[in-house]
């Protein structure tokens, strides 16, 4: 590697110039976050209001779209860049607020109302007066984040290859093609310590190296981007694909050069129509400008990418099932444990399969150097990781933090802790393959190895926060119900075992279980872990085993005392009315769907247990808090 960077080819220069025109225009730039999370909160109406408002006022402003900046809780977010000033983010926008914003902008003012924060821009000054608009670094949700992979999400327009080039995109690709050998690229990725972001954490550089060295009958090698993100509550890959699809493409092109592949696939799940559209647009634009296809940038290297869409099966995120699905076969895992995908994957050729976030990290490693990447995070887990922070937490959204940050920091500093002053109980990481980590272990760093030791796993980055109102038996039951449907059903341990685990958990939740049920559950979980065919089955018992490990007393309370301490398992609940507190207002009588409550007005009411369906309506409406749940 030499330090002298050769000049960018004409095509990249042109893209960059065009991109700067729309990214830092000489007129105000108003960008609406129209990723899935934004659209779900009404971003389309805000966008329409802004477009109409700009046109009707004759304002000289550019209204455009962007991805999600991560703070999904306060979507729709509008990003306003007035030349000469920092970018200002406006949160929870509505068409009415958009009108007000335009009125201010028309008067040449950057309003402080509804402003979330401002993002410093080079060579610009602060917007607002006397700190009326806080800086990004002063907002707790953003303060501890280190945005590298997601740096462009929520700023650039995901459809614009020019804007991606303008923020430095494709310079890593040019660096690779112009001055690095494939071996150099693999060495750089190895030196960075990058590990697969899909969950298992296999070292990416080593995977690439094995694939490059593997024998291929005809020299053909493939690479695949796994965008079949199916864990409940996880949407990191969607955020990346909807915010910065070109980063993923650039990573894939670099990877293809390193392993010697000429064809790549993106396997995207059926449930991500917007991400798919943006990705297909990105591929088409990249082909148009010559960054994909034959003879990329005149270097003689050829590579193309095809999008393959899943049919809605969770198991297709498993490598061999995914490969089968792209090949056009039934998406179920293949039992060839002696053969790795890097030796014999897609169409029997050596194949590298990496997750969206892994690919998006590659250009950053090349541009900034492996040392820069390795300097973030811990010794064995380098770099940053994107998490979707969801559940019982004040601030939900996509966050990017350096590896090694503690769960407590993430949940309390970024997330603001559970809402309504509730106590934190556990956090679920890794989706159905992961486990629940109790409050007592919140000082664990997020790191591949530390989380595995606690009985969970890093997973692809879903982080579901649970407060004291969550029943851990119910959580385990939920994941078993999910897997019961989503297992492919091929092997007996997974198909029958998960079904039986769900059955035992249901028995526990409904007060039919004995101590023997718990030991049977544990034994069964271990066998399913041991004997299942694929990764889905082998990790399926994790939600059960981790909750038993950390919350055994809660299981025992269900079994021995027939009591659900969190008040979730309906069959174990009993509602009654405290006659001393009851004012006889009759609110519960109106709320009860089965007519189980009776009593004279202004006299104490009572519940007929035989009629009670334990829906909790009376508990919710009672103004005197006289309904007792036990």
């Amino acid at each position: 590697m030499t330090d002298a960077t050769p000049t960018l080819p004409q095509v990249l220069q042109e893209l960059r110039t065009a991109g700067m025109d729309s990214l830092r225009p000489t007129r105000p730039r108003i960008a609406v976050g129209t990723a899935t999370c934004g659209l779900a909160s009404g971003a389309a109406d805000v966008l329409a209001a802004l477009r109409d408002g700009v046109a009707s006022r004759g304002l000289d402003a550019l209204v455009t779209e962007t991805g999600c900046i991560g703070y999904c809780q306060v979507e729709p977010i509008v990003d306003v860049l007035v030349p000469g000033y920092h970018r200002v983010l406006y949160s929870t926008m509505t068409p009415a607020k958009a009108e007000a914003l335009l009125n201010s902008l028309a008067q040449g003012r950057i309003p402080a109302e509804d402003a979330l924060c401002q993002i410093p821009m080079e060579g610009a000054r602060r917007a607002g007066t006397n700190g009326s608009i806080p800086l990004l670094a002063d907002v707790p949700f953003f303060a501890s984040q280190v945005k590298t992979v997601t740096a462009n999400c929520g700023f650039i327009n995901p459809t614009s290859i020019e804007e991606y080039a303008a923020v430095g995109g494709f310079s890593a690709l040019w660096k690779v093609l112009s001055q690095m050998s494939p071996e150099d690229v693999i060495e750089a990725v190895k030196a960075s310590g990058l590990r697969g972001r899909g969950g298992a954490g296999f070292p990416t550089g080593r995977k690439w190296e094995s694939c490059r060295r593997a024998e291929s009958p005809d020299g053909i090698r493939y690479l695949i981007c796994n965008a079949d993100e199916g864990d409940p509550g996880a949407y990191m890959d969607r955020g990346l694909l909807e915010g910065s699809p070109y980063s993923v493409l650039e990573g894939m092109i670099i990877g293809a050069y390193a392993i010697g592949a000429s064809q790549g696939y993106v396997y995207i799940r059926h449930e991500y129509p917007l991400a798919r559209r943006l990705l297909e647009n990105a591929i088409a634009r990249a082909r148009e400008v010559g960054l994909l296809g034959e003879d990329i940038l005149g270097t003689g290297f050829s590579f193309d990418i095809e999008v393959s869409q899943g049919g809605g099966a969770f198991v297709c995120g498993e490598s061999t099932a995914l490969v089968a699905s792209i090949e056009g076969r039934i998406g179920e895992p293949r039992d060839k444990q002696h053969l790795r995908t890097v030796q014999s994957g897609l169409f029997g050729r050596p194949t590298v399969l990496n997750n969206v976030e892994t690919w998006a990290n590659v250009p950053l490693i090349i541009s900034n150097g492996p040392q820069w990447f390795a300097s973030m995070g811990t010794r064995t887990s380098t770099g940053t990781k994107v998490f979707s922070l969801v559940g019982q937490v004040k601030n939900t959204g996509l966050i990017e933090v350096p590896m090694g940050m503690t769960l407590r920091q993430i949940i309390y500093e970024l997330g603001g802790g559970p809402p309504d002053g509730k106590r934190l109980k556990a956090v679920q990481t890794g989706g159905p393959s992961g486990g629940c980590i109790p409050e007592s272990l919140m000082d664990l760093p997020v790191d591949f190895d530390a989380l595995s030791k606690a009985g969970s796993m890093m997973g692809s980055g879903g982080m579901i926060v649970m407060d004291e109102d969550t029943c851990m038996v119910d959580v385990a039951k939920y994941f078993m119900a999910f897997l019961m449907e989503e297992s492919c059903g091929k092997c007996i341990p997974c198909r029958e075992g998960v079904k039986r685990m769900h059955q035992i958990l249901t028995d526990i939740a409904e007060g039919r279980a004995s101590q023997q049920s718990l030991s049977l559950l544990e034994e069964l979980a271990e066998v399913v872990q041991d004997a299942s065919l694929c990764g889905l089955g082998k990790t399926a018992p994790n939600p059960v085993l981790s909750t038993i490990r950390h919350f055994r007393s809660e299981y025992e309370q269900h079994i021995l005392d027939r009591r659900c301490p969190a008040g979730v398992c309906r069959a174990l609940l009993r509602y009654s009315i405290d006659a001393d507190l009851c004012k006889g207002c009759g609110a519960c009588v109106d709320a009860c769907p089965t007519g189980a409550i009776s009593g004279e007005l202004r006299e104490a009411h009572s519940i007929t247990q035989d009629l009670c369906i334990k829906c909790g309506s009376c508990f919710d409406v009672c103004p005197a808090k006289a309904v007792v749940r036990a």
Binding site: A313, V315, I330, E332, D335, K336, Q337, H338, L339, L483, M484, E485, E486, S487, C488, G489, K490, C491, I492, P493, R495, E496, G497, K499, R500, Q503, Q516, L520, E523, L524, V527, D530, A531, S532, L533
Partner: protein, 222 residues
């Protein structure tokens, strides 16, 4: 002549051709490994997990693999019947017999593995989803008339799109290989889908005029 590979099975050094599976190698040397979804001359499928063994290399911790699909690798050491494997197999048999208690094969396997009690609630499935009929049809009969449909607990064997397949030659191969049925196929009425002796309840519904014990027609779904 291909390369040969040396490994140990239950401590015994074994030399076999490259590409041999652990199951084949073990049987060659007289070591018995129970199987269910395996049939000679059909491709191994690895679904029943009855033939699991422990494989270790060097000092690594042993890995549980299905011996019917795992091709021998130089230097590996295979243990076919450790306490862990015995426990796993017994649990699989328990799952199997709880799901299909009236299938004689499931009972036999459970008895052979020393299963004493079944701790799960009994169901009454006739088909154990081993997939032998599908592989028989596809690989030996060139029929491609059968496939798996659905996933998870909803998995079942069906003709594509639940319509009678024109590629079904009504050869009866599926019925012949089915390990779950004890009722021989008596032929299929032309408009019937396929013989489903394996899937029949004990009280048989004779829906075909030929006295066929079962076909997957509307009146007698699998």
């Amino acid at each position: 002549m291909g390369k040969t590979i040396t490994l140990t099975i239950d401590g015994m050094p074994v030399t076999v051709d490259e590409g041999t599976t652990i199951l084949e190698a073990a049987r060659m040397y007289g070591i018995n490994i129970p199987t269910l979804c395996y049939a000679k001359n059909l491709s191994p499928y690895g679904a029943c997990r009855m033939c699991i063994v422990e494989v270790s290399r060097g000092n690594g911790s042993p890995q549980v693999v299905a011996s019917c699909t795992y091709e021998v690798q130089p230097g590996i050491s295979v243990q076919t019947n450790t306490p862990r494997i015995a426990r796993d197999r017994r649990m699989i048999a328990e799952l199997l017999v709880a799901s299909a208690p009236n299938v004689k094969l499931a009972q036999d396997i459970a008895a052979r593995l020393g299963l004493q009690e079944v701790r799960f609630r009994f169901e009454d499935n006739r088909c154990i989803l081993c997939g032998l009929c599908i592989r028989m049809c596809t690989e030996q009969m060139g029929g491609r008339a059968l496939t798996f449909a659905g996933h998870g607990v909803g998995r079942r064997i069906a003709m594509p799109f639940d319509k009678h397949s024109e590629t079904c030659k009504e050869c009866g191969g599926c019925d012949m290989i089915c390990p779950a049925t004890t009722v021989p196929c008596q032929g299929v009425k032309p408009e019937g889908y396929l013989c489903g002796g394996c899937a029949m309840p004990v009280e048989r519904v004779y829906c075909c005029s030929m006295g066929n014990p079962g076909c997957f027609c509307e009146r007698n779904p699998l």
